[in-house]
């Protein structure tokens, strides 16, 4: 049996048996050129939890060219495949976090207006954010990176694959339909924060009005362009081209069903409000996010066709979150709503498997259903379940090897593959952290020893950047950043 020799490449981890020897020799050289994924990786002897096709004892998963080539008990790999013996381990699809703010440069809130649909998270992805590695360490392979909740209609999201230190374009998941953040309640009306100058709206009535006004403007805008295009088609020459409006274009896409709405909310009344607005303007809400009072209006949510992406066990941190209950998940699920569990936080993100276990504990969600809430269900909510969210032939090879049953408190993600690349290997990561500390110390000493360098009073100073990965609601929406 060939055992995988993990190799070190800074934060990048690749499994490639051909270069493993050379890489180990060059342990001190951190930035290895990026290696393509191994043609074939065979994970075998594992308890394979496919999520959609049951649990396979003594099962194997074959990864080829970044995709899942086969899953089952009698999987054939080529002779040169990298083979990983996962006896006693559990294999699942990668965890998908349906609400995250990691890997963003600058503020996650464009706080200026109540409608900031023109801003795009995809413009500011920072793949060097340690939040990506932290998420990987909890088996997370994808995240729905959302704009903050300071605005009734916020910016455009980016669904990313967790690929640390790679060009931003490689992280953004092209298969994902575009989405947009909405927010209701205290944050968009700025109840808990000083705004200077004060921003409209200051009430929940105002939040509704802002959304209705925006979609009314979007309808008018669509009309203006439709008329212009018809005129041009009819051969009219003397027509003035209308202005392209980046605020309204994404809202037109919402009206046309091309852009998914992910709405931050807590209270039952505001949930019902948005359902009414969506009905009046004839668009669908993809997910209610947080939705802590969702259990009070579950039938209405179900009827609206929206999914629910909630905190399993987190509430009471602000007035509108006082009616939270850990049973919310189970009640929403029993009502037949498509439920996912999200983190909204760079730390909780790596414990979503524990949150899934809590859904079993509080309200008795079946284990397989709980696991769906962090894999295939968020994939469905994000419109990407054809490609990710379960271990099925042909899907993206986003695969996690866990040390124990993923719903166990003792389970840790040992190896995490994203598109077939080993992006996280716990043993290597621990060793790497120590090596990095030593290397940093050595370089600083070498630098200090060099007396030839004349000090430059105008030089920019390298300074440890403040962490901004932790973004659960009240920590992030104050607009301090």
């Amino acid at each position: 049996m060939i055992r995988l020799r993990p190799l070190r490449a800074g934060l990048r981890l690749r499994a490639n048996s051909i270069v493993a020897v050379a890489a180990l020799a060059a342990l001190a050289a951190p930035a290895l050129a990026q290696k393509p994924a191994s043609r074939e990786i065979l994970i075998r002897n594992a308890t394979v939890m496919t999520v959609t096709k049951g649990v396979i004892e003594n099962g194997s998963v074959l990864i080829r060219d970044g995709k899942i080539a086969d899953v089952g008990t009698s999987v054939k790999a080529s002779a040169d495949a990298t083979v990983i013996d996962a006896a006693g381990k559990f294999v699942t699809p990668g965890v998908i976090d349906c609400h995250s703010h990691i890997a963003v440069d600058g503020s996650v809130n464009e706080g200026s207006f109540s409608v900031t649909s023109m801003v795009r998270i995809a413009d500011v992805i920072d793949s060097s954010d340690s939040g990506i590695v932290i998420g990987l360490s909890g088996g997370v392979t994808m995240a729905n990176v959302l704009h903050g909740s300071a605005n009734a209609i916020g910016g455009q999201n980016a669904v990313i694959k967790m690929k640390p230190n790679r060009p931003a374009g490689e992280l953004i998941y092209g298969n994902a339909p575009p989405g947009i953040k909405f927010a209701l309640g205290e944050n968009p009306k700025r109840s808990n924060f000083q705004a200077n100058p004060a921003r409209y709206p200051r009430t929940r009535m105002g939040v509704e009005n802002v959304i209705r006004d925006a979609f009314t403007r979007a309808r008018d805008y669509r009309e203006v362009w439709a008329r212009y295009n018809a005129d041009v088609k009819a051969g009219k020459k003397r027509v003035a081209v209308p202005r392209r409006d980046l605020e309204l274009e994404p809202l037109v896409e919402v009206l046309e069903g091309k852009r998914l709405v992910h709405s931050h909310c807590y209270r039952a009344d505001e949930i019902l409000m948005l359902i009414r607005v969506a009905r009046d303007f004839n668009f669908r809400i993809a997910t209610f996010q947080h939705v802590l009072e969702g259990y009070k209006v579950a039938p209405e949510i179900l009827a609206s066709g929206a999914g629910a992406s909630t905190f399993q066990d987190f509430g009471g941190y602000k007035i509108e979150a006082f009616d939270a209950t850990p049973y919310n998940t189970a009640m929403l699920w029993k009502a037949g709503i498509l439920v996912s569990l999200n983190s909204d936080d760079g730390e909780r993100q790596r414990r979503l498997n524990t949150d899934a276990a809590r859904a079993v504990r509080y309200g008795g969600v079946p284990e397989d259903e709980a696991l769906k809430m962090i894999t295939i269900n968020p994939a469905k909510q994000l419109g990407i379940d054809r490609w990710v969210g379960s271990l099925e032939r042909g899907k993206d090879a986003d695969v996690v090897i866990w040390s124990a049953h993923p719903l166990s408190s003792y389970a840790v993600a040992e190896k995490v593959y994203v598109d077939g690349n080993l992006e996280f290997d716990r043993a290597v990561a621990i060793r790497d952290a120590e090596a990095r500390r030593a290397e940093s110390k050595r370089l600083v000493e070498q630098e200090k020893a060099d007396k030839s360098a004349k000090p430059n009073p105008d030089a920019p100073r390298t300074a440890p950047a403040p962490r901004h990965g932790l973004h659960h609601d009240d920590a992030c929406e104050g607009g301090g950043e």
């Binding site: 600058g106 207006f113 900031t116 795009r120 910016g155 931003a168 300074a463 607009g479």
Partner: protein, 531 residues
């Protein structure tokens, strides 16, 4: 120097605008160095250059023996700002954010209106810099740059080319309540403005071709200035240092089919292939990052931060290897001499010295589209040159002459004053100095070691840093100390002249060109407090 006779002859026959530097080492950049040659400057232009060139009869002569002539240096990016800020909102009344006219969008602003022949230009000339790309400071759409020579009667007279490029930054323009208050918002502003300018151009062209039956588009200075960007007739320069910032700039270049330039470029080597394939040049900052000052010794720095500053000087060498065009810029360094010090760091990190010289001369000229005017020593080009005592990147080298548009500036070492009599006191020790200034007493410390007449040591101040004593000597009971402080990039030449009596002294401290003040000094007892 054998100038004396020639100068006498010149009174009768020489033209004031004709110079010949003879017998010098000449580095034309456009060709191989000439070990011993002559260069002739006439009426602001280079007339001839070469080993066989003969000084014309009407030229004033400079004996170039032991000197080296280079093309004048170019700082390819430096900010200029208006003296008075535009009217802001009245104090205490926060302005509401403005979606249509966000702050920091001033593409119509032109640096040509902001430059003048001031002390900064004087400093540049003294270090051999004869041209500078002046960029308006502040904003997202900062405005249009101008390439100026560092001397001239006015900003317009100094101008070589305007506009050179449209300059953008990714700086948010306000806090939470302003738009764009986030980095994301900056990209929305840039996109919306490009789209608005596109619409404006379309309406304008439509109207121009046949106005009848159409409403006249409202004239906009802002969009008029953006049309050359859309037409690719004016390059657009993005300030970007991180690899991901550069990648974002490249994305905009692709999205709007722009002629792009990167300014800053600290991590450009990480995206060199993307820059090379698009022929995007880099105005590479020489202001390399350094370690934080006063860092708590307990602090363990992140490896990536340490690497950040170790890798920065090697960027130029890597860009050169990858075939990316680049030119050096000051990037906020205020002392032009420091630019050369830092260029030497880039050479130490692997950049060939001739490539470093090119990045300060011909490369920026090419990038700015003025290589037929500037950047090398060739007949017909503008007579911008620097004459040095030796290799440009040697710390000890001194600039002897700078020529800007043929105008000669000479720089001389001040002769070191000599002691008149032998020392009658020993000033060795640490002295507390108190200078009486109009702003009240200022304290400083002089640590001195005396051997015979000569004195060496350190000069320390609380507010203005420290410096080694430049020259000092004792003559009889008189001490003369010359120190050079660097205050915000401006050198401050101070001379202390005091009469020493035991452990005290008093006298005058004079700042070159700024008059003098009285001072007193007291020697600290060894290992104890002041008596």
């Amino acid at each position: 120097m054998n100038v004396g006779f020639a100068r006498k002859a010149c009174v009768l026959v020489c033209s004031l605008d004709v110079w010949a530097i003879t017998g010098a080492r000449i580095v034309p950049v456009s060709g191989p160095p000439i070990e011993k040659g002559t260069i002739v400057v006439r009426d602001g232009l280079i007339e001839s250059v070469g080993a066989a060139t003969v000084a014309p009869a009407d030229a004033r002569l400079i004996d170039g023996a032991g000197l080296t002539v280079y093309p004048g240096l170019i700082d390819s990016f430096a900010f200029v700002e208006p003296e008075t800020k535009p009217d802001g909102p009245p104090q205490g009344q926060p302005r509401a954010p403005d979606r249509e006219n966000p702050p920091g969008v001033t593409p119509q602003r032109e640096a040509i209106d902001l430059v003048k022949n001031d002390a900064r230009m004087e400093g540049l000339r003294a270090a051999g810099f004869t041209s500078m790309l002046a960029v308006p400071k502040g904003g997202v759409f900062r405005g249009q740059s101008v390439l100026v020579n560092t001397s001239g009667a006015s900003g317009w007279a100094m101008t070589v080319k305007s506009p050179v490029a449209m300059h953008l930054s990714f700086e948010p323009q306000g806090g939470f309540a302003q738009y764009p208050g986030s980095l994301m918002g900056v990209f929305s502003v840039i996109r919306q403005k490009m789209l608005d300018a596109t619409q404006y151009r379309q309406l304008r062209e439509q109207y121009a071709s046949s106005p009848a039956g159409l409403r006249r588009p409202t004239f906009s200075r802002e969009y008029e200035s953006l049309i050359p960007i859309l037409d690719r007739s004016l390059p657009i320069s993005f300030e970007a240092n991180r690899d991901r910032e550069i990648a974002r700039a490249i994305k905009l270049v692709d999205e709007f089919r722009l002629s792009g330039t990167i300014a800053g470029g600290r991590e450009a080597w990480k995206v060199a292939a993307d820059l090379e394939s698009r022929r995007i040049p880099v105005l590479l900052s020489l202001n390399f990052p350094e370690a934080p000052m006063d860092l708590d010794p307990e602090t363990r720095e992140e490896l990536k931060d340490v690497r950040d500053r170790l890798e920065a000087p090697a960027c130029a060498a890597k860009l050169a290897k990858a075939g990316v065009r680049f030119a050096f810029q000051s990037g906020g360094i205020r002392s032009p001499k420091q630019m050369l010090t830092n260029a030497a760091k880039a050479i130490k990190a692997g950049l060939p010295a001739d490539a470093a010289l090119r990045a300060l001369t011909l490369s920026p000229a090419e990038i700015f589209g003025v290589s037929n005017q500037l950047g090398s020593l060739e007949p017909g080009k503008i007579a911008n040159l620097v004459v040095t005592s030796g290799d440009l990147f040697d710390e000890k080298t001194k600039v002897r002459f700078t020529f800007v548009d043929g105008e000669r500036f000479e720089y001389k070492d001040e002769p070191a004053p000599m002691p008149a009599e032998s020392a009658a006191v020993d000033v060795t020790g640490t002295w507390e100095i108190e200078v009486t200034t109009p702003d009240g007493p200022q304290k400083a410390t002089l640590e001195m070691t005396q051997k015979g007449n000569s004195v060496t040591g350190m000069f320390r101040t609380e507010m203005f840093g420290s410096s080694e004593v430049k020259s000092a000597f004792v003559s009889g009971k008189k001490l003369t100390v010359n120190v050079m402080l660097n205050i915000g990039g401006n050198p401050l030449d101070i001379t202390f002249a005091g009469d020493v009596e035991g452990d005290t002294m008093k006298g005058t401290s004079s700042v070159a060109g700024q008059g003098s003040m009285s001072f007193t000094g007291a020697r600290k007892p060894k290992g104890g407090k002041l008596r």
